[in-house]
Symmetry: C2
């Protein structure tokens, strides 16, 4: 059958989809989401077909979403040849998972490949996620999934051993240990190529904060050069193209808050495998408002991480940390960057000491893991001697940033609002999620200068009218809106 092309002029959000009229669907004997092949000359594309019930697509026409046109450019009104295609094999494997069977390496690889190349629809990806959620993944399946995500992205070519890496599971505002840990470990002579994400649900992703100091978007080749020069990098992970599978899984997981453990573990470890990490420290913050509200759950995940590490040839160490309150004072890219620079420039004397201590502890453990005796002591020496700051500047310079950036160079929002204590007492509770929300509404992380500066932590004594935190924004309207969210301050910070 030949059909005339129409451009929808819209993205499907991922999947390769074409729309045809019901009459043509009957002639082809295809149903919604069956696969068809579109051919024009030597070009071809296999897409899922959706069927227009209304007159949006007339008989004789085929409407193509942007994603299809990107891989198969064809002009409006050009005739293309349509034939029916078999459904992708990955659908059978997804069905197997729903039926409670265990998938082998090849089957998982097919599924990930088809997700990445947009060959599966959201209905099909959702079915896979539900199958993994209900029936679970074996350790081997999680390992295969990790390998498949890596195989369908890119890996850094680094000629080094050991290669260190760190990861925080997230959910804690201000938890910006990365620049400190990376600077210390790299300064000790170990390779630590860190890729970070931009914010998804948090106030600021590590990549958003690092961008205050230097560009974080680099090609694979550039990253390899930066690491060769400095032992380290602090870049956005996008260049390794692992996010493709991740993003698509996250989209279908979100509405129901499904986060199948096996997929979560694979997604994290794939990022480590992509930099060929051999020694990995994973920080799991535990407590109200974090991903792991109870310690038992976190312990179970710890075990799985370790077992999975073995299968993948990675030495993994887990620390369960206190995630019941924000770390540091600044929350938001510029405010966090100021905290970090203050610690580094003062050789650890100034700046938020909770953040400094956590970073030193993590760097110390990583150093022990790769054979340094008294790792924690060594980490302190490196910070206090100024070596960490020197290494930090080297990395910033290698990434194209200004190594001599000063605190004053880091601009924070010119509109601000102070939130004060309604009564005296001791800080009993800080609502991570609300702090995050207020900072986001104020403009973080898109507006680098937006966010919150937090003056108190748990168990601090405060007096009535003390400033608890200050909201910063680059835009008066956003500030007003974020302030309006704080109807009852005692629900965000409770003081008894």
């Amino acid at each position: 059958m030949h059909l005339k092309v129409k451009h929808i002029g819209m993205s499907s959000g991922g999947p390769l989809i074409a729309i045809i009229n019901k009459e043509d669907a009957i002639k082809l004997d295809v149903h919604a989401l069956d696969r068809i092949k579109i051919e024009k000359g030597s070009k071809e594309a296999i897409v899922a077909v959706d069927i227009a019930k209304t007159k949006t697509v007339k008989p004789g026409y085929i409407s193509l979403f942007d994603e299809v046109l990107q891989i198969f450019s064809v002009k409006k009104n050009e005739l293309v040849k349509i034939t029916v295609e078999q459904n992708p094999l990955s659908l059978y494997y997804i069905k197997k998972k729903l039926d409670g069977e265990t998938l082998d390496k090849h089957e998982i690889d097919e599924i990930v490949k088809d997700i990445v190349s947009n060959e599966l629809t959201e209905i099909e990806i959702t079915s896979f996620v539900c199958g993994c959620y209900i029936n679970g993944l074996t350790l081997y399946e999680s390992a295969y999934l990790t390998e498949a995500i890596v195989a369908n992205g890119k890996q850094l070519d680094l000629d080094a051993y050991p290669i260190c890496d760190k990861h925080s599971v997230g959910g804690v505002a201000g938890n910006r240990t990365t620049p400190l840990v990376i600077s210390i470990v790299a300064s000790a002579g170990f390779t630590i190529p860190k890729t970070s994400t931009r914010s998804i649900t948090s106030v600021s992703g590590t990549a958003d904060t690092l961008e205050v100091f230097a560009p974080v978007t680099h090609t694979k080749k550039e990253i390899e050069q930066i690491v060769k020069k400095t032992n380290a990098c602090m870049v956005w992970g996008g260049a390794l193209e692992l996010a493709s599978a991740d993003d698509k899984l996250i989209k279908v997981e979100r509405p129901l808050n499904l986060d199948p453990e096996g997929i979560l573990l694979a997604s994290i470890l794939a990022k480590k495998a992509a930099v060929k990490a051999t020694h990995v420290l994973i920080d799991i913050p535990v407590g109200r408002g974090t991903k792991f509200e109870d310690r038992k759950m976190a312990k179970r995940v710890e075990r799985k991480f370790k077992q999975l590490g073995k299968l993948l040839g990675m030495n993994i160490k887990i620390i369960l940390t206190n995630g019941s309150q924000p770390i540091g004072n600044g929350i938001g890219p510029a405010l966090e960057a100021r905290d970090i620079l203050t610690i580094l420039q003062s050789n650890g004397k100034l700046g938020p000491q909770d953040l400094k201590k956590k970073a030193l502890m993590m760097a110390g453990i990583l150093l022990q893991m790769v054979g340094v005796k008294n790792g924690y002591k060594r980490a302190i020496e490196i910070l206090e001697s100024g070596s960490a700051y020197k290494k930090f500047k080297d990395i910033i310079k290698a990434q194209g940033g200004n190594p001599n950036i000063s605190i004053k160079d880091i601009k924070i929002g010119k509109f601000k609002h102070e939130v004060r204590a309604k009564n005296s007492g001791s800080v009993k509770y800080i609502d991570n999620k609300m702090i995050t929300k207020v900072a986001k509404i104020a403009g973080s992380p898109e507006d680098k200068g937006a966010g919150i500066y937090l003056n108190v932590h748990l168990r601090d004594k405060v007096k009535k009218n003390d400033v608890l935190f200050t909201i910063y924004s680059e835009n008066r309207k956003k500030l007003e809106y974020s302030v309006s969210l704080i109807k009852n301050i005692s629900e965000i910070i409770r003081i008894d």
Copy 2:
């Protein structure tokens, strides 16, 4: 936040969806598929939001699919107010099902209500189906689902007892017992208001075939009038609006061939409950190419149907019939209609005897169920006396058809192709699925005169060059295409 309306000029295929730019999504703090409320004056709509990554939707704009515009008409470039809404409660209930919990009546009702009113996205409906598929539904859950589907559609108001009904699970070509069974049972004085579906995957749905005799699309009120006049009706079920939930479930079930038993049972029994049936006969064809390839599976479903019937206050009887070959000779609306009319007009003497026998058996059982002694004998009397034909004509007339329609009035496709035996022997196998496919490609059921006339059944002796079947089409091209499908006749009908 206020945004300017754009019309996408396309259907989403069901769900209420709006698209906004990433910048506005950040300001609203919403993610893909979160819910927003759109307001304009006193009108409002709650929709799922999708987020444009490309420049398709510019900041400050909101693009609406046809479905949203249907319930919330608003002109291009009009400003609407946008606020963030809570996700529907049904999402929590779907999550419960995924977590292996049992849902109560209220929870299932919420899910069905939200599916019907387009408030759930395909990702969310898929999650529900996967949860039902893997974790199963209890009998009570299936009963609640049945009731919810009925409650979210319409019920016939009939002042009668008992009310009979029948159903064939499908998968067998030509299995058109309905007009015969309905005419016989109604002629015996019992109420039997039959609603049928149009073809989904088959060559012809019962409604498609009945349409050869009379209009089948009637309002609820009209259907009630027809039943009052004749004890019966043979109409398309669309007027009762049960299909809405069904269609949406089927769309997400299809790609992976998921057909959760609990949903299948509920979907069938909801159609019976909507006509307030008290005595229901269900025909489950068993055999290669049908829904139930093995007898064990069919037996299990039989048990469930009966138990579910008890909960719903329906007396249900199941027959497992031989589904290994087509029933009757005609396959396709006009060809089936000719078979039926031939049997009725000849008082059972002419026409396909296998179809006649099956219909008599079914009518007999239904009569027994409502207290008629020797039901089968009574059914034969009614057919042979001409009472069944008379009742058939009454129903056709009440539905607005021509009761005096003759065989010759029923036009069949003028293009035909005979398929002949390559060798002599006995018919060992007939491929239901291929027969269906060839008839569909020839134009059935959209072209009423298209289809297949089958000359042989299993175990028939044939000689080389005997005509095995004839393909009819209203269109030369369609005929050619359907003929080209038959590369190897022995794969469709095997003669040894």
